[in-house]
C-alpha cells in the first residue's frame, strides 16, 4: 500500500516515512500538514518527534562523557551544586545513568509553568525542590519526562549554554540538518505539521517549553531524524547508548523489553522510541545489525496502526495493541489495594481503578473511575486498553507497586 493509501485507510491527515538502508535514506510524504490550512506534506516538512527527542538529549550527554566532562555514574550534584529535590538523599544519589534509564525515582511530570523564555528549563528544575519525591533512585524503572529535563539542565550547566544552543552547535549543525526546529519561531520558517485529535487540528502546537529536552518542542523531518540515527549507527562512541541497561521492564503491553540509555529496546534486538506530542505521533525503529532504520512521523493521534503497517513492510514487527482477554481471570486479592503517585491515590479492587486526587491540579483533570480486568499473570487492562503491571511483593505477598509506565507505591 502506498503512503497515500495508508493515510486514507487510517484517517491520518499527513505523514512522512523515511527508511535508512545501508547508509542510504529514502523518504516520502503524503497528505496535508493541517486539515485547516490544507498545505501539502513534503519530505522536507517538519513534524514534532515528541519523546524521540530524548535520544538527542542522551546523545548530548554522551558527548560530555566522551569529552570526560561528565561521568554517567557520578551524582549530578557534582555539576549542579544548587540542585535540590525535596528528598535530600535522592538529591545526592541520582546519577546521569539513573536519569537516562528512567530509574531516578523522579515522578513522570511536574506542572509548574516556567514560561517560554530561555530560562524556562533552569527555572523548572528549581521548582523540583518542593516536589514530592516518590522512589529511592535505582529502585525500579519509572518513566520520567522531568528526568530528561534534568539531563537537559545538566547539559546546559556543563556546556555553559542554553539547551537549544547546545543541540544546534553539537548535533544539528555538525550533522548538516536543515529540516529541524527547536521551537515554533523556527518551525514557522518551514512547512510544519500541526497535530490532530479526532475532532480536528489541535488548538496549540506545543506547550511546556520547560521540558523541551524530553520532547515538548523539537520538530524534524523523517529524513533528518534518520540522518541523526545514521550518525548513531556509524559513530562507535554512540554504540554504548544501545547497550541494555535494564532487562526487567514491567509489562505495559507496548512490546518494550528493556532500555538502553534513552533507547527503548524491543524484541529481536530492535531499538527505537515513540514520541507523542499535541496530536502528533512519531515512531522510530532501528535494527543496528542490519543497518536498517525506519521513521514514521504522523500528525494524528491515529498514527500508530499506520506506523505498524509501514514497519511490517520493512520486516519490523510492531507490537499489536493490547486488548482484554475473552475470559479474563479475576483480579486477585494480592493486587487489590491503594497505590500512591504524586497526583492520585489509586485504589484497585476486583473491577475498578478509582482515582482520588491529591492536588488541585489532579482534581482539575477529573480522572474518572476506570473499569479493569485481569490481563495476564501480573497485569490488568482498563476499558481503554491501558495495561498496568503489579510489581514486587511485600511481606504479606501483596504487590508493592501499581505501574503504568510510572510507578505508584502501595499505601494500603
Amino acid at each position: 500500500m502506498t503512503l497515500r493509501e495508508l493515510i486514507q485507510k487510517y484517517d491520518v491527515p499527513g505523514a512522512q516515512v523515511a527508511v535508512l538502508n545501508d547508509g542510504e535514506i529514502h523518504d516520502e510524504a503524503a497528505g496535508v500538514l493541517s486539515l485547516h490550512t490544507q498545505v501539502e506534506t513534503t519530505p522536507d516538512s517538519v513534524f514534532k518527534i515528541g519523546s524521540i527527542t530524548k535520544i538527542w538529549t542522551a546523545t548530548l550527554v554522551n558527548q560530555l562523557v566522551e569529552e570526560k566532562k561528565l561521568d554517567l555514574d557520578e551524582p549530578i550534584t557534582n555539576h549542579l551544586p544548587g540542585f535540590q529535590l525535596s528528598d535530600r538523599e535522592a538529591t545526592d544519589t541520582i546519577t546521569p545513568r539513573h536519569l537516562l534509564t528512567h530509574t531516578s525515582g523522579i515522578a513522570p511530570n511536574h506542572f509548574t509553568d516556567t514560561g517560554r523564555s530561555d530560562d524556562a528549563l533552569e527555572k523548572f528544575i528549581a521548582t523540583l525542590r518542593t516536589e514530592e519525591h516518590l522512589l529511592e533512585p535505582g529502585t525500579l524503572f519509572s518513566y520520567s519526562n522531568t528526568g530528561f529535563a534534568l539531563l537537559g539542565r545538566l547539559v546546559e550547566v556543563v556546556r555553559g549554554k542554553r539547551f537549544h544552543d547546545v543541540l544546534r552547535e553539537h548535533l544539528i549543525t555538525p550533522l548538516g540538518l536543515k529540516a529541524v526546529a527547536t521551537d515554533p519561531y523556527e518551525a514557522i520558517l518551514h512547512r510544519t505539521a500541526v497535530g490532530h485529535l479526532d475532532t480536528g487540528p489541535t488548538k496549540s502546537w506545543a506547550v511546556s517549553y520547560r521540558t523541551a529536552p524530553s520532547g515538548s518542542h523539537f520538530a524534524t523531518s523523517a529524513r533528518d531524524l534518520l540522518t541523526f540515527v545514521h550518525h548513531h549507527l556509524t559513530d562507535p562512541a554512540l554504540a554504548a547508548l544501545r547497550e541494555p541497561q535494564l532487562t526487567e521492564i514491567p509489562e505495559f503491553g507496548d512490546g518494550i523489553r528493556g532500555y538502553g540509555l534513552a533507547w527503548m529496546i524491543y524484541g529481536h534486538g530492535h531499538l527505537g522510541h515513540t514520541g507523542i506530542s499535541k496530536g502528533q505521533k512519531a515512531f522510530l525503529r532501528v535494527i543496528p545489525d542490519e543497518n536498517l532504520a525506519v521513521a514514521v512521523l504522523t500528525n494524528s493521534v491515529n498514527g500508530e496502526p499506520l506506523a505498524r503497517e509501514v514497519f511490517a513492510a520493512h520486516g519490523i514487527d510492531m507490537h499489536e495493541p493490547p486488548a482484554p482477554p475473552h475470559n479474563p481471570a479475576p483480579i486477585d486479592d494480592w493486587m487489590h489495594g491503594t497505590y500512591r503517585n504524586p497526583l492520585f491515590d489509586i485504589t484497585l479492587d476486583a473491577e475498578h481503578l478509582t482515582y482520588r486526587p491529591r492536588t488541585g491540579f489532579a482534581e482539575s483533570l477529573r480522572k474518572p473511575r476506570a473499569e479493569v480486568v485481569r490481563h495476564s499473570e501480573r497485569t490488568i487492562i482498563t476499558s481503554s486498553n491501558e495495561v498496568m503491571s503489579l510489581i514486587g511483593s511485600d511481606e504479606h505477598g501483596r504487590a508493592k507497586y501499581l505501574h503504568n509506565g510510572a510507578a505508584a507505591y502501595r499505601i494500603a
Partner: protein, 416 residues
C-alpha cells in the same frame, strides 16, 4: 479590484501578498504568490502576515477603551499609573500615542517570551532615554508603545495579549489573529524576505523581540481580519484620528493623531515593517473605504503604493501623492546639515554626498548610502532600496546655525 496581483508581485519582486478592500462594511480580499520562497506554500486569503506597527492602532484602541471606561486619563502623567516609570519630564498617554513623549524609539531589547516580557522591557528604560521634553516635538517611538502596552496590562491586570484577545479579537470574531508564533504556526503564515547578497531570501528570524509586542513585534493576521477591525473605527474611536502633532516635512505623513498617521485629504492609516514583512493600511473614514496590503518582501512599498493609489482614486476620488524621488537637478547639501547625529542604536554621519551608519563603538552598521538634497530641509537617498528612496529632514538650528536634529521619523540629536 482593477489590478493584477500576480503581475504586481513579479514586477516588484515581492514573494507573496494579500490585499483587502473595505467599502461600506463589505470586505473583498485577494492573495497571490507564496508565503516563503523556501516552502513555496501558496498565499491564500486566510493566510496570516505580520502587520508590524499597524499593531499600534490596536494598542491605541485598547488605550482609548480605558479612557472610555474612565480608568485612564490621557492627560495624566503615566507615573501615576506606573509609579516605577520615571522619566526626566512627565509623560502622558497622549504623548505616547502621538509619538511626542521624547522617549527614544528603537530599543527592541529582548526580555524573553513570557507574559512579563513587556514589564521587564519597560523596567530597562531610564530617564536618559527621554530625548526631549514631552510635547515639544514628534519622534516616532516603538519603545513608547511598549510603555503603553505595559500601562494597559497594569490597568487591566492582564498580559497585553490577553487584553487584546478579550477586548478586540474575540468580540470581533477574528479567526486568523495570532499574537505569537505558537498561534501563527496553526495558520498559513507568511515569512519575511530580505536581501542576502543581492537575492531575496526568507529570513532566519521570524519576528522582532516579544517585549515590543504592543508596538508591533508579533501580531499577525489576514488582511481581511485587519479590515474587520478597521471597520470598527468607521463608527467608533473617532477621537483617535484628531490631529495631535505636526510632523516635520517629508516624513510620510504631515500629522499624527493618537496612533493614526494622518496623510491629509481625509486619509488616515499606518505602515508596518517587521523582519522582511511590510504592511500598509489606508482608510478614508468619511467614505467608509479602507485598503490593506500585506506583503512579505522588501518591494512591498511600491507595490502597495500602486494598489492604494488605485483604490483611493476609484473608491474615494482621492489622489495619492507620488512616492518621493530625488530631484532631477538637486541643490547642494549644505554645511549646516552635515555632522553626526545619534539614533537609539545607530549614529548617522551626514556628509555632502552620503550618510554613514555606525554602531556606538564606531564600527559600520550598514554600508553608506549616497544622498542628494530633496528640498529646503530634507535629503533623500540617491539609489532606491527595493523601490524606496529614504528621506530625512533637518529640524531646528543650534547657536552656530547647524541643524540640531536629523529626523528620519526618529529625532536624532546632533552629537558632532
Amino acid at each position: 479590484m482593477g489590478w493584477n496581483l500576480a503581475e504586481l508581485i513579479q514586477r516588484h519582486d515581492v514573494p507573496g501578498v494579500q490585499v483587502a478592500v473595505l467599502i461600506n462594511g463589505q470586505i473583498d480580499t485577494q492573495a497571490a504568490g507564496v508565503l516563503s520562497t523556501r516552502t513555496r506554500i501558496e498565499t491564500t486569503t486566510d493566510s496570516v502576515f505580520q502587520i508590524g506597527s499597524i499593531t499600534k492602532l490596536w494598542t491605541a484602541t485598547l488605550a482609548q477603551k480605558l479612557v472610555n471606561d474612565g480608568v485612564l486619563d490621557p492627560d495624566c502623567p503615566i507615573h501615576n499609573y506606573l509609579p516605577e516609570f520615571e522619566m526626566l519630564e512627565p509623560i502622558t498617554a497622549r504623548h505616547l500615542l502621538s509619538h511626542t513623549s521624547g522617549i527614544d524609539g528603537n530599543h527592541f531589547t529582548d526580555t524573553g517570551r513570557n507574559d512579563d516580557a513587556t514589564a521587564r522591557f519597560v523596567a530597562t528604560l531610564t530617564p536618559e532615554d527621554q530625548l526631549f521634553p514631552a510635547g515639544t516635538m514628534f519622534s516616532y517611538s516603538n519603545t513608547g508603545f511598549a510603555v503603553l502596552g505595559r500601562l494597559i496590562e497594569v490597568l487591566r491586570d492582564k498580559p497585553f495579549h490577553d487584553v487584546l484577545r478579550e477586548e478586540l479579537v474575540t468580540p470581533l470574531g477574528l479567526r486568523t489573529v495570532a499574537t505569537d508564533a505558537y498561534e501563527a504556526i496553526l495558520h498559513r503564515a507568511a515569512v519575511g524576505h530580505e536581501d542576502v547578497n543581492g537575492t531575496l531570501e526568507p529570513v532566519t528570524t521570524w519576528a522582532l523581540a516579544y517585549s515590543n509586542a504592543p508596538g508591533g513585534a508579533q501580531l499577525a493576521m489576514s488582511a481581511h481580519d485587519l479590515l474587520k477591525f478597521i471597520n470598527l473605527h468607521m463608527t467608533d474611536f473617532q477621537q483617535l484620528r484628531e490631529p495631535q502633532v505636526t510632523v516635520p516635512p517629508n516624513l510620510g505623513a504631515p500629522h499624527w493623531g493618537l496612533g493614526w498617521m494622518l496623510y491629509g485629504k481625509g486619509v488616515v492609516g499606518h505602515t508596518g515593517t517587521t523582519i522582511g514583512q511590510k504592511a500598509f493600511l489606508r482608510v478614508v473614514p468619511d467614505k467608509r473605504v479602507a485598503v490593506a496590503v500585506l506583503t512579505n518582501g522588501l518591494g512591498g512599498a511600491p507595490l502597495a503604493h500602486e494598489v492604494i493609489t488605485h483604490t483611493l482614486r476609484d473608491l474615494a476620488g482621492i489622489d495619492t501623492p507620488p512616492r518621493p524621488t530625488p530631484p532631477d537637478d538637486p541643490a547642494p547639501i549644505e554645511d549646516w546639515m552635515t555632522g553626526t547625529y545619534r539614533g537609539t542604536k545607530v549614529d548617522y554621519t551626514v556628509t555632502k554626498t552620503d550618510i554613514r551608519y555606525s554602531w556606538r563603538d564606531g564600527t559600520e552598521s550598514h554600508p553608506p548610502q549616497e544622498i542628494v538634497r530633496f528640498d529646503d530641509t530634507s535629503i533623500i537617498t540617491k539609489k532606491p532600496d527595493f523601490g524606496t528612496h529614504y528621506v530625512a529632514t533637518f529640524v531646528d538650528r543650534d547657536e552656530q546655525g547647524r541643524a540640531k536634529w536629523f529626523h528620519n521619523i526618529n529625532a536624532c540629536r546632533r552629537i558632532a
